[in-house]
Structure formats: C-alpha cells, structure tokens
Amino acid sequence: MAATTTSTVYINVIEDVVNKVREEFLQSGVDEGVLSQLQALWEHKMMECGAICGPIERSSLPKHPGPGGSAITPVHDLNVPYEGPEEYETPTADMLFPPTPLQTPIQTPLPGTSEHSMYHLPTPSDYPTPQDSGGVPEVKPGRPSPYMASFDFFVVPSGKRKREDFPPQVPRTGYIPQQDGAGDATYDVFQSENLVYPKQSTILKLGKGVVNLRLGCEEIHALKQPLWLFFASEDYNTVNTPAGHELHATTPAVAAPTDQGGDDDDDEPPLNENDDDDLDDVEGEEPNTQHLVLAQFDKVTRTKSKWKCTLKDGIMRINSKDILFTKATGEFDF
C-alpha cells in the first residue's frame, strides 16, 4: 500500500535525521532532550496531516514502522493528543532563517571546476596582477597584451569620450557622415547636435532623408510626437497601428497636428484588463496549487506540442495523499 510505504519511509527519514544531527547537537552543548522534543513535534505534525501512520513505537522497534504501520492512513488521526495551532501550509521557518548562501546545499552541486574550464571567461582577476610581472605594468599599444583588455576600463574620460554618445548604430570607431540627400550633415554639425541634443539626433536619424538639420526646435518637437508614441506607446487611444504610422512619421506631413485624429479602420478597443487570460491570473498566484510534485528530472523533450519527461526520486502530494516514486514518466500536451 502506497500510504504505508510512504509512512515507513518518512519515519525512517525522521529517524535518520535525528540520529545524524545528534553529534552536532552534543557538540554545540545542546541537551539531548531538545532533540527528542524536535522529533516528537515533527512526528506529531506529520500525523496531524496524515502523512505518517501512528502510533510509532520506535523505542521497541527502532528500524520498523511499528504495528500501526499496517493500518490505513487516516487523514487526521484523532487519537493524537497534539493540537497544532497552525495550519500545515504556513512556511514560516523560511522567513525566520532563510538559508544562507554558505549553507545552501543547492550551491554545492553546481560545479566549480568542470564548468569553469568549459565556460572560461577572462575576468580581471584572471589576468596577471602587477605583482606577478614584478613592477608597474606597462601597456604597449602595438602589441596585444593581457592588459589591453582591461585597460579600457581605466581610461580617464577625455575629449574622445564624445564618440560614445553616438547612437549605437554608428560604429564607435568610425563616423560615417550622411551624404545621401536632404539630411546631409557635416561631421561638425552632427557632432555638436549629438552633444547638445542626443535624443533628437536619434530621431533625426530615424527620419533620415526627409528631415534635415534646419528644422527648428518646434518642428523637431512636433515630429517627435508620433515617434514617441510609437516607441513608448502608453497612450493606445491616439495611435492604434504603429506600423502604419512609422511610415507616416518619416514624412513632414505627419508633423502637422491634423494627423493626430487617426485614420485607422480598426474599431477594436485597445488592449485592456478585459483581455487578460483568467488562467494567467491564477498562475500568477502559483502557490495556490495544492497538488504538488517535487522531483528530479532526467530528461525533458518536446515534439511539437507533445511533451515527455522522465522524473526520478519524487514526492507527490496529490489529493491530500503523499506518494513517493523512484521513477515517473510524464506525457503532456500543451
């Protein structure tokens, strides 16, 4: 019977934990009575939620579940004197003493050595330190040395720094002046534009070929409007189809405020909370799922919408019953 087996395993685990921490308790100068108290409280809670069968006669049969082990597990054992004030579900200890990174076991399995060599990325600490070379490091510009990579980080901002203010599309190392039409700009003009109005220069680039640098501030502002709505479109009512407006935005006509009315045929209301999927909301409060499977996966595969997985060493809490498994196969359709 599954329930009995689960109960047996649980009792063995409690026994094992108690035996193996005993040494630690004694070393810390904690009375063994505390350990017994821990065990008693733990077992009571387990019986209360029906996860183990009582009574446990451990003193006489330390390695076996006792006579009660063969009984069918009651959901709530009323013979147990313990009356826990708390609900079983409340995870309070996690908040009280969250596992510190040092003692978090999940940290330990993550390989420090094998993966490190595979995905080795040079970090500043991997480079030879100045002490290694026995003196002040000297960077030779013509020759790639380990210092070259990290040298960039220590460059004092100078006049050259301005180049980094260019939009990302412009290569950092070489400026390509625009010479293809109305948007022609000389290097100096463009650069000064960049320094003073970095945002606007980006917009000018987007509308290149149409907008030129002679646009006054107001015109730029007017042009900025639809583009702004496109990129950070918070106001869904003003622009419904950004793709269409993107094209319009590059023509001067769109700068006129008359275009704001929107000539879209799309009568559908903008996205709002009514479009939310109800199931997604449920999923947002995930811990709501009372049925839980905790396991390790060996393999997870997917073919189109068919998912297959093999799990091992799992604990399931299904319909208030605990079931343990050594192997599980899952077939899901998405």
């Binding site: 387990m46 510190t100 390790q296 060996d298 343990l324 498994f325 077939e331």
Partner: protein, 106 residues
C-alpha cells in the same frame, strides 16, 4: 554529498520546518543548528528516495505552463492523471517542480 533543498517543500519537509521554526522562536534551538537539521534532512530524504522507494508513476495531462529556469523545470498541468501500481488519482491542477538530476551525480 550534494543535495537539493527541493524536498523541504514536501509534507515532511514543511512539518520539519515548522517544528524548527517553533523551537527557534521559543529559544529552544539556535538558528544555526536548525539549519544543520534542514541540511541533514535534505541528505536523508534524498537517500531514502534513492534506496527505499521502488514505486513507478505515470503522469498525463494538459500542460498549462512550462518554465525552465536555473536548471529547474516547472510544469503546471491541468486535468492530470497520476497512475502507479496501486492507484489512480485525478487532479484539476497540479504543479511539478523538478531539479536536474545530473547536478547530484557530478
């Protein structure tokens, strides 16, 4: 021995956590020792599942959500059917959380 903290969310793990919580709160136990107990539980539970459990289970259902993050798979199934040698259980919604078994064998 490498272990997962995963099983602390099971019934037995939650009962232990609550017990430790109470004992730390009333000053019977130091938080350091409590963490030692939890770490030992991680080990003991993993060993027990490896050595004492023989049962096999099959799961079928509609996959509502899947997620793979930090080597942990999370599946949320709807109308799932669990079968093992003895019984069959049906649930409307179930969450499966699975860590990568390879992390333990390294």
């Amino acid at each position: 021995m490498a272990t997962f903290e995963l099983y602390r969310r099971s019934t037995i793990g939650m009962c232990l956590t609550e017990t430790l919580d109470e004992m730390v709160s009333n000053g019977t136990l130091s938080p350091e020792l409590a963490i030692q107990v939890l770490v030992q539980f991680d080990k003991s539970m993993t060993e027990a599942l490896e050595n004492q459990v023989k049962s096999k289970v099959s799961v079928k259902g509609h996959l509502h959500t899947y997620r793979f993050c930090d080597n942990v798979w999370t599946f949320i199934l709807q109308d799932a059917i669990f079968k093992n040698e003895e019984c069959q259980e049906t649930v409307g919604m179930v969450k499966i959380v699975a860590c990568d078994s390879k992390l333990l064998t390294q």
